[in-house]
C-alpha cells in the first residue's frame, strides 16, 4: 500500500504541477518531496514490525497470462533506495530554488515524474516493470536537459545520452526476456530460479546483456563517454538527479537482478566486468586529474567512485552488496552536494575554471568549511558516509579478486589527489580580484548545504539504521548462493 502511495505522490504532483501552472510550482514540488520523505520514513519504521507486510507490499496482476504484474515490495534494500529518492528529491528541489526556470511547472513536473519512475524502479519486484521504470526515467531527464539547458551543443549531447543508454538497456531487455522465456513469469524470484537453472556459459551470455546495460548507465569504462558531457550540459538540478539517483538504478539492478539470478555467470565471466570496473577507477581518476573545470572534475570523480561500486556489487558477497547499498545512498548525497557547490560557485563566478579561483575560504569561511566536509566525504574519510560504503565495497571485492582490488583501491589515493587539488585551488591561497567579491551564502544555500553535510557525517558515524535494515534482505537475496 505504501509503495503505491510513494509512487502516486510524485505522479499526482507532477500532473498537478503541469496543470496548475507556473505559480507556486516549486512549492508544490517541494511539498510533494517532503511528503514523500515522510512516508518513506514511515515505511522505515514499519519495516520488520509485525503485520507490516500488507503495508509494504502490493501485488496485482497486470498481464496475467504473461506473468507480468504490478508488484511492489519495500524490503530492506528497496527501503534504502526509496530513502535515497525521497531524501534527495526535496533537497534537489529546494536546491534549485536558487535559479529561476522558464515554465517552472513543467520543469518541476518532469522532475517529479522522474522521481516517480525511479521510485518505481527501486520498489518493484517485477522484472519487466523494473525495465519499464528504468527506461521511462530517461524521458523526463532528456527533456529537462533539452529544454532547460543553455549548452550550445545540447541537442547532440542529449541525443547521444539517450541513444547510448537506450542501446545499453535494450540488451538488458533481451537478457530479461531470455530469463523470462524459461520462467514464464517476471516475478523476480522466478527470474532468479530461471537464471540459476541455466548452464554456466548461458548465464555468461545473459550476464553480458545485463552488464552492457548497467555498464552504460553506471557508467563503467569504456561505456562512459556520454556522461561527462551530459553532466556538463544539464541544468544543475538535472545533473543532481542524474548523478544522485538515476544512475543508481543501474547499480541497483545489479544487486537486484544480476547477482542473485546469475551466480555462475558472474563468477565465471564476471572477471571481465570486474577488470573493467577497476580500469574505470584508474581511468576516470586520471581524467579527473587532467580536468581544469570543476564540474567536469566531479563528473569524472563520479565515474571513478562508481567503478568501485560496480566491482563491489559484482563480487556478489554480503559485504560488497551492503557496501553497494550504502555507497549508492552516500554517493547520491555527495553528488548532490558536490554539484550544489558547483551551482553556488557558478552562480557567483559565471564559470568553474579552477585555475582562475582561489582564496574563497578567506572571503567565505563558512562555505569553505562545508565544502571541505563534502570533499572529505568524497575521499571517503572514516566517519563520513563515503567511507562505510567504499570500505565495504573494497572488502567485498577483495574476497573475489585481491589484485584488482589493489588497483581499484587506488581511488583512495587518487581521489585525494584530485579532490584536494580542487579544494585547494578554489578555496585556499590568497583571494584574487575575482574571488574577492564572492558573495556570502544566502539562507537557503546555507540550509541545503548544512542538511547535506549533516547527512554525510550522520551516515558515516551511525550508518547502522541503514545497514541493519538492508542486511536481512541482502542475506536472503544471497541465500542459496555458495559465495
Amino acid at each position: 500500500m505504501l509503495t503505491l502511495i510513494l509512487l502516486a505522490i510524485p505522479l499526482f504532483a507532477a500532473v498537478l504541477s503541469m496543470a496548475a501552472g507556473a505559480k507556486n510550482a516549486r512549492n508544490l514540488a517541494l511539498g510533494a518531496g517532503i511528503l514523500e520523505l515522510i512516508i518513506t520514513l514511515g515505511a522505515f519504521f514499519l519495516n520488520g514490525k509485525e503485520g507490516s507486510e500488507t503495508w509494504l507490499t502490493f501485488n496485482r496482476e497486470w498481464i496475467g497470462p504473461l506473468g507480468i504484474s504490478y508488484a511492489f515490495s519495500l524490503d530492506g534494500i528497496s527501503l534504502v533506495m526509496a530513502l535515497l529518492v525521497a531524501l534527495l528529491l526535496p533537497i534537489i528541489i529546494y536546491a534549485s530554488f536558487n535559479r529561476t526556470f522558464k515554465s517552472p511547472h513543467y520543469f518541476y513536473g518532469l522532475m517529479l515524474l522522474m522521481a516517480a519512475s525511479m521510485m518505481g524502479a527501486f520498489t518493484t519486484t517485477d522484472g519487466l516493470l523494473f525495465y519499464v521504470f528504468y527506461e521511462f526515467a530517461l524521458i523526463p531527464i532528456y527533456f529537462m536537459i533539452l529544454y532547460w539547458s543553455e549548452h550550445p551543443n545540447k541537442a547532440k549531447i542529449t541525443l547521444k545520452f539517450f541513444i547510448y543508454t537506450l542501446f545499453g538497456s535494450l540488451f538488458m531487455l533481451v537478457s530479461l526476456l531470455y530469463l523470462y522465456n524459461i520462467s514464464g513469469s517476471f516475478n523476480m524470484q522466478a527470474l532468479y530460479e530461471a537464471g540459476r537453472s541455466l548452464s554456466g556459459s548461458e548465464q555468461g551470455w545473459v550476464f553480458a546483456g545485463f552488464f552492457i546495460a548497467f555498464a552504460v548507465k553506471i557508467p563503467v569504462f569504456p561505456f562512459h563517454s556520454w556522461q561527462p558531457a551530459t553532466y556538463d550540459s544539464a541544468p544543475t538540478a538535472g545533473t543532481m538527479l542524474l548523478a544522485g539517483i538515476m544512475l543508481k538504478m543501474a547499480s541497483y539492478g545489479m544487486v537486484r537482478l544480476v547477482v542473485p539470478a546469475l551466480p555462475e555467470g558472474v563468477a565465471e565471466y564476471g572477471t571481465w566486468a570486474l577488470a573493467l570496473s577497476a580500469i574505470s577507477v584508474l581511468y576516470a581518476s586520471g581524467m579527473a586529474i587532467a580536468q581544469q573545470r570543476y564540474k567536469l572534475l566531479i563528473a569524472w570523480s563520479s565515474i571513478a567512485h562508481l567503478g568501485v561500486l560496480s566491482a563491489g556489487i559484482l563480487s556478489g558477497n554480503a559485504q560488497g552488496i551492503q557496501g553497494g547499498i550504502m555507497e549508492m545512498l552516500s554517493h547520491g548525497i555527495l553528488s548532490v552536494a558536490l554539484f550544489f557547490v558547483y551551482d553556488i560557485i557558478e552562480s557567483r563566478m559565471n564559470h568553474d575554471d579552477m585555475s582562475k579561483m582561489g582564496g574563497i575560504r578567506e572571503v567565505n569561511p563558512l562555505f569553505a568549511f562545508l565544502f571541505f566536509i563534502i570533499v572529505m566525504g568524497s575521499v571517503a574519510l572514516p566517519l563520513t558516509s563515503g567511507f562505510v560504503g567504499e570500505f565495504l565495497l573494497l572488502l567485498g571485492f577483495y574476497q573475489v579478486s585481491p589484485w584488482l582490488t589493489a588497483v581499484a583501491g587506488l581511488t583512495v589515493v587518487l581521489g585525494a589527489v584530485y579532490m584536494l587539488r580542487a579544494f585547494q585551488s578554489m578555496m585556499l591561497g590568497p583571494a584574487n580580484s575575482a574571488t574577492q567579491s564572492f558573495a556570502p551564502l544566502n539562507s537557503h544555500e546555507k540550509t541545503v548545504l548544512t542538511i547535506l553535510v549533516i547527512l554525510i557525517i550522520a551516515l558515516g558515524v551511525y550508518p547502522d539504521p541503514i545497514l541493519s535494515v538492508a542486511n536481512p534482505s541482502v542475506e536472503s537475496l544471497l541465500q542459496g548462493l555458495n559465495r
Binding site: 498481464i63 497470462p65 504473461l66
Partner: protein, 459 residues
C-alpha cells in the same frame, strides 16, 4: 457478413449523399456508420463458438476477425476525424475520397475474416485498388501522380504473384479453403506446387507489408501521396495486409519447412537494417516515417515468423498502437507542412513546442512510442515481438532488432530535438479544436493502452 454489408452500404451512401448534394451530412453519416460497425462487431462477439460461417463459408467472423474489424473501424473513425480538416467540407473531392477509403476499409475487413483464398485475393484487391486512386488523388501534383503510378504498377505485379501462388496452392490441394490446405500440409508431405505457391504468396504479402527486398516502393509512395492517404496506408492498409498474412501463415500454411522461417528471418533482418540505417540520413520527416513504417513492418513480420505459437492478439496490439502513433505523426506533419510550403523537413519542426503545444507533445509521444520507450504502448508491441522471437530462439535476429531499435530512436529523437529547439518569431499553428482534441486523446491513449495492456487478454 453484417459487417461487410454495413461498410459497403456506408460507402454507397456516401456517394449517394454526394449525388443528393447533402455533402454536409457525409462526415456524421460516416461516423454513425462506423460506430454502428463497431457496435455490430461487438454484438457478434463469440460467434465462432457456435459454428456459424457466412458467405458460403468463405468468411468467418471469429473473435480475431471481429477484433481486427473493430480496430480498423476505430482507426478509420479517427482518420476521418483528423482528415476532415484537410479536405474542404462540401466538395465532391472530399466525398469521393471518403468513399474510396470506406471501400478500401471493406477490403481490410474481408482480409481479416477470410477463410478462403478466393476471398483473400478479393480482399487484397478491394483494399488496394481504392488506395491506388487515393495515392494519386492530388491530380495536379506530379509527385502524387508518380506515387500513385508506382504503387499501382508494383501493386499489380505483387497481386499477380500472389494470385499465381494461390493458383499453385489450389493445384496442390484441390481447394481454396484454408482448412483444407492445413489438412494437406499436416500430412507432412510438401509437394513442389505448394512450396512454390506459398513462396509466391509470401512474396505477394511481403510487398503489401513492404519488407525488404520488396519495400523499395514504400518510401516513394509514402512521400508522394497526400499525407492523409499516407497515414491511411501506414495504418489500415498495412494492418490489414498483416491480418491476412498472419492468418495465412499462422493457420493455413502450417507447418512449412524450416527454410521458410529462415527466409523470413532473413527478410526481417535486412528490412530492419536497411530501413533504420536509411532513415537516419533522411531530412524529410514524411519520408523518414516511411522508413520507420518499413522498420515496424519488419518487427510485425516477427509475429508472422512465430505465427505457429503466437496469438493474433499481440499482432492486433501492435497494429493498434503503431496505427495510433502513425496517425498522430502523419497528421501533425500534414499540419506543420501545410503552412510552410509543404516543407516537411526536420527543421520545419523547430519551435513547434511554442507554435502548437498540443501537436508538439502528441508528436513527441507518438515518436517515443514508435521508438519503443516505455511506458508508451509502442514498447509493449516490440516487447511482444521480441519475446516471441526469443521463444523461437532466433537470438541473432533479436540482437539485430535491439540494435536497430536503438538506431531507430536516433532519428525519432532528432525530430523531438527540433520540436523543443526554440526559434524566433514563430507564429502559432492553428488547427481545429476537433483535431487538437483528437491528437490529445490519442497521445493519452498511447500511455493508457500501455498500462491497460491486460485488456488484451479479453480477446
Amino acid at each position: 457478413m453484417k459487417e461487410i454489408v454495413i461498410i459497403s452500404l456506408l460507402g454507397i451512401a456516401v456517394l449517394a449523399l454526394d449525388v443528393l448534394k447533402m455533402r454536409k451530412l457525409v462526415l456524421p453519416v460516416i461516423m454513425l456508420g462506423l460506430l454502428g460497425l463497431i457496435g455490430v462487431s461487438i454484438a457478434d462477439w463469440g460467434l465462432n463458438e457456435t459454428p456459424f460461417a457466412q458467405y458460403g463459408g468463405m468468411l468467418t467472423f471469429d473473435n480475431t476477425a471481429l477484433s481486427f474489424t473493430i480496430v480498423f473501424a476505430s482507426i478509420a473513425l479517427l482518420w476521418f476525424i483528423l482528415a476532415g480538416d484537410n479536405y474542404t467540407a462540401g466538395t465532391s473531392q472530399r466525398t469521393d475520397i471518403f468513399a474510396l477509403v470506406l471501400f478500401s476499409l471493406c477490403g481490410a475487413v474481408v482480409l481479416s475474416a477470410y477463410t478462403n483464398l478466393v476471398m483473400l485475393f478479393l480482399g487484397v484487391e478491394i483494399l488496394s485498388i481504392p488506395v491506388y486512386v487515393l495515392a494519386a488523388s492530388q491530380r495536379k501534383n506530379v509527385l502524387s501522380n508518380e506515387a500513385g503510378f508506382k504503387y499501382f504498377f508494383l501493386g499489380s505485379l505483387a497481386s499477380a504473384v500472389l494470385l499465381f501462388g494461390i493458383s499453385l496452392c489450389y493445384g496442390a490441394v484441390g481447394s481454396f479453403e484454408l482448412k483444407a490446405i492445413q489438412e494437406h500440409l499436416s500430412g507432412g508431405f510438401y509437394s513442389p506446387l505448394i512450396l512454390t505457391g506459398s513462396a509466391l504468396m509470401l512474396i505477394g504479402f511481403a510487398f503489401k507489408i513492404s519488407v525488404a527486398p520488396f519495400h523499395l516502393w514504400a518510401p516513394d509512395v509514402y512521400q508522394g501521396a497526400p499525407t492523409p492517404v499516407t497515414a491511411y496506408m501506414s495504418t489500415i492498409v498495412k494492418g490489414a495486409a498483416f491480418a491476412g498474412m498472419f492468418k495465412l501463415f499462422g493457420s493455413a500454411l502450417q507447418p512449412l519447412p524450416e527454410a521458410y522461417s529462415t527466409a523470413i528471418v532473413f527478410m526481417i533482418a535486412i528490412t530492419l537494417i536497411a530501413s533504420n540505417i536509411t532513415a537516419v540520413v533522411q531530412t524529410d520527416t514524411k519520408r523518414m516515417l516511411a522508413f520507420s513504417s518499413i522498420s515496424h513492418a519488419g518487427f510485425m513480420l516477427g509475429f508472422v515468423l512465430t505465427a505457429s505459437t503466437t496469438s493474433p492478439k499481440y499482432l492486433i496490439y501492435y497494429t493498434l498502437t503503431y496505427s495510433i502513433a502513425s496517425l498522430i505523426s502523419f497528421f501533425v506533419i500534414q499540419h506543420v507542412a501545410a503552412i510552410q510550403n509543404e516543407d516537411a523537413s526536420t527543421d520545419a519542426f523547430k519551435g513547434l513546442i511554442k507554435r502548437s503545444p498540443v501537436m508538439a507533445v502528441s508528436m513527441t509521444v507518438a515518436l517515443l512510442s514508435m521508438a519503443g520507450i516505455p511506458p508508451l504502448s509502442g514498447f509493449l508491441g516490440k516487447y511482444y515481438v521480441i519475446t516471441n522471437v526469443i521463444e523461437h530462439e532466433h537470438m541473432a535476429l533479436v540482437i539485430i532488432m535491439v540494435i536497430t531499435s536503438a538506431i531507430g530512436a536516433f532519428y525519432y529523437l532528432r525530430v523531438i530535438s527540433a520540436i523543443f529547439t526554440p526559434i524566433e518569431n514563430a507564429g502559432r499553428i492553428m488547427v481545429s479544436d476537433s483535431t487538437r482534441r483528437t491528437l490529445a486523446v490519442l497521445s493519452v491513449l498511447l500511455v493508457v493502452v500501455f498500462f491497460a495492456a491486460s485488456l488484451l487478454e479479453l480477446l
